[in-house]
């Protein structure tokens, strides 16, 4: 049963299995284990990024395709939900229509980009995605009547998913719509992740890996490489869009900074690399570590800085204002010491 759910793709390392179970457990019971708005926000963000990063891994790690348009697809899903909720009024139907419209437009756009540029060299595809993503970002900020421009859009979602919906108490924790929304995210993201895990372990996923390894030979044994690459691009885009839709449900706000920005694109890239490319489980670990660091490194440094205030220089170095610098150092170190990512390292033993 479990083997079927994870498509027979076992962690193949006790340590990795333990870490993954720990993350699963923490996310599954986050509202009870880590009370507080901030903690729940962090857990929800981790869930979303696991799907976003896993869908990017399908492309980068499994198919060997470099794309810079992944956050654009993420944004399409988010804006789909936002626009549907505004124009149709808050409701479940708006969420579903918005998510489907977002996923569909992401697929169509990915298909167009793929058809146009996957035939040629890989670097050309990467450049086209960069160009299209920039163009869409500009478009979103220019069409402010529709998209809210740089300010973004706020909208309402079904009342059942808002804090106003009080359900009762469980284990001393007040259950409200916000916690229901969290579980909507939790189950959706788990399902999407398992679906991605299935796809990479399917016959189709094996073809993608063969193309990554040697596209010339894949073609020679009868796989139409362009068709497979295009399909992978479309799938990955649709998954990113669905992650975006879920994010929009959670935030009740969309804006260029939260969904479209190039910064998020870089973050996603780092999460894939840190976790381990072409492993899927790397997405879980990469996203968890990254989002935690983003949210708590500053606090940690503040505390450390205060604790060492008597010493010279050190408090300055670990001043919370330098957190980005230290995040950078952390990445360089992790890439240097774990070139195959954390998953690769754990699987190799030690």
């Amino acid at each position: 049963m479990i083997d079927w759910l994870i498509s027979g793709d076992r962690p193949r390392s006790v340590a990795l299995g333990a870490v993954l179970l720990g993350i699963l457990f923490s996310l599954a019971f986050a509202p009870f284990l880590f009370p507080g708005v901030r903690a729940l926000d962090t857990a929800a963000t981790i869930l979303i990024f696991i799907v976003l990063v896993a869908s990017y891994d399908l492309l980068l790690g499994y198919s060997g395709i470099v794309s810079f348009a992944h956050t654009m697809f993420f944004g399409l899903g988010a804006y789909g939900v936002a626009l549907a909720s505004i124009h149709m009024g808050p409701g479940w139907d708006a969420l579903i229509v918005g998510a489907l419209a977002g996923a569909l437009s992401a697929t169509v756009l990915a298909y167009a980009i793929g058809l146009f540029s996957l035939r040629v060299r890989a670097i050309f595809f990467a450049m086209i995605t960069l160009a299209v993503a920039s163009a869409v970002a500009v478009l979103v900020s220019q069409l402010f009547q529709l998209t809210g421009g740089e300010d973004g859009l706020t909208y309402r979602i079904p009342r059942a998913l808002t804090p106003a919906n009080r359900v009762g108490e469980l284990f001393g924790v007040r259950i409200n719509g916000r916690i229901l929304a969290y579980y909507l995210l939790f189950f959706s993201c788990t399902a999407l992740f398992l679906l991605l895990l299935r796809i990479v372990n399917s016959p189709f996923g094996r073809v993608l890996q063969s193309i990554r390894e040697n596209d010339f030979r894949s073609e020679a044994i009868g796989y139409r490489v362009v068709a497979y690459r295009t399909a992978a691009t479309c799938l990955s885009a649709a998954m990113a869009a669905l992650a975006g839709s879920l994010y929009a449900i959670w935030l009740r706000y969309v804006g260029p900074d939260t969904t479209l920005s190039f910064e998020i694109m870089i973050d996603v890239l780092l999460m894939v690399v840190i976790g381990g490319m072409g492993t899927m489980y790397g997405a879980v670990i990469g996203a968890t570590i990254f989002v935690l660091a983003q949210n708590y490194l500053q606090n940690l440094m503040g505390a450390a800085s205060d604790a060492t205030s008597a010493l010279p220089l050190i408090p300055d170095l670990i001043n919370p204002d330098r957190w980005l610098l230290w995040l950078g150092v952390l990445f360089v170190l992790s890439v240097y010491f774990f070139p195959t990512g954390i998953v690769g390292r754990l699987r190799a033993g030690r």
């Binding site: 079927w4 498509s7 027979g8 299935r198 796809i199 372990n201 399917s202 016959p203 189709f204 996923g205 094996r206 073809v207 890996q209 063969s210 390894e213 040697n214 010339f216 030979r217 894949s218 073609e219 020679a220 044994i221 009868g222 796989y223 139409r224 490489v225 497979y228 399909a231 799938l235």
Partner: protein, 254 residues
Amino acid sequence: MTQTLLETTDLTVRFGGHVAVDHVTCAFRAGELTAIVGPNGAGKTTYFNLISGQIGASAGSVRLLGQDITRMGVARRCAMGLGRAFQLTNLFPALSVLENVRLVIQARRGKGFNLFSIAASHVEMTTAALAVLERVKLGALRDQKVSELSHGNQRKLEVAMLIALDPQVYMFDEPTAGMSVDEAPVVLDLIAELKHDSDRTILLVEHKMDVIAKLADRIIVLHNGALVADGPPAEVIASDVVQKVYMGREIADV
């Protein structure tokens, strides 16, 4: 009359001013093993590339099973029954030995776009792949990463992948090159076995004369891209043109 499976007509390719394959017209019939010989740079591999579609022809045509495939893509030619093993080993290095062959079986079965089943649960495909590995004596190495195989074993796997494809037209490009004396017979015996199948045709680029003499029903000679001799082995080897092409030396020395 035996059936013609593959046919090239005035097949030509130019690289800049250099004519690498020059108006080659030749038909390959079912149940026949044709050895293709010629000195280094004669255009043998390029002729193969034109037939299997890796490079486009400048002029002329290729027909497979009666259909013009000159403008067809590599994958579609393969699906029609054209199989090719490469002179320079061309595998999926980070994948296992078994997976390399399994991918071929999967392609043959048209299962590539199966997205929602677990690949490992298609036991029949794995079994078929293992059977092919046994035939080239690689069964014991099934879980090895291909990049860790010895050169000889990689060459065997190259052959195994062509056999797994089960095509109507087999194209072997120096299959035993770089193999040790005790490894080569495994591959050559396999090719001899394939010959018994009378509805297929085999094209074999090979330098070793003793191998050709034993296996070939027919030899064609390429020289500077042109077809200069075509006939039964004994006749071709004895002919003046072959002696001239090889500049008086015996073919076996080349």
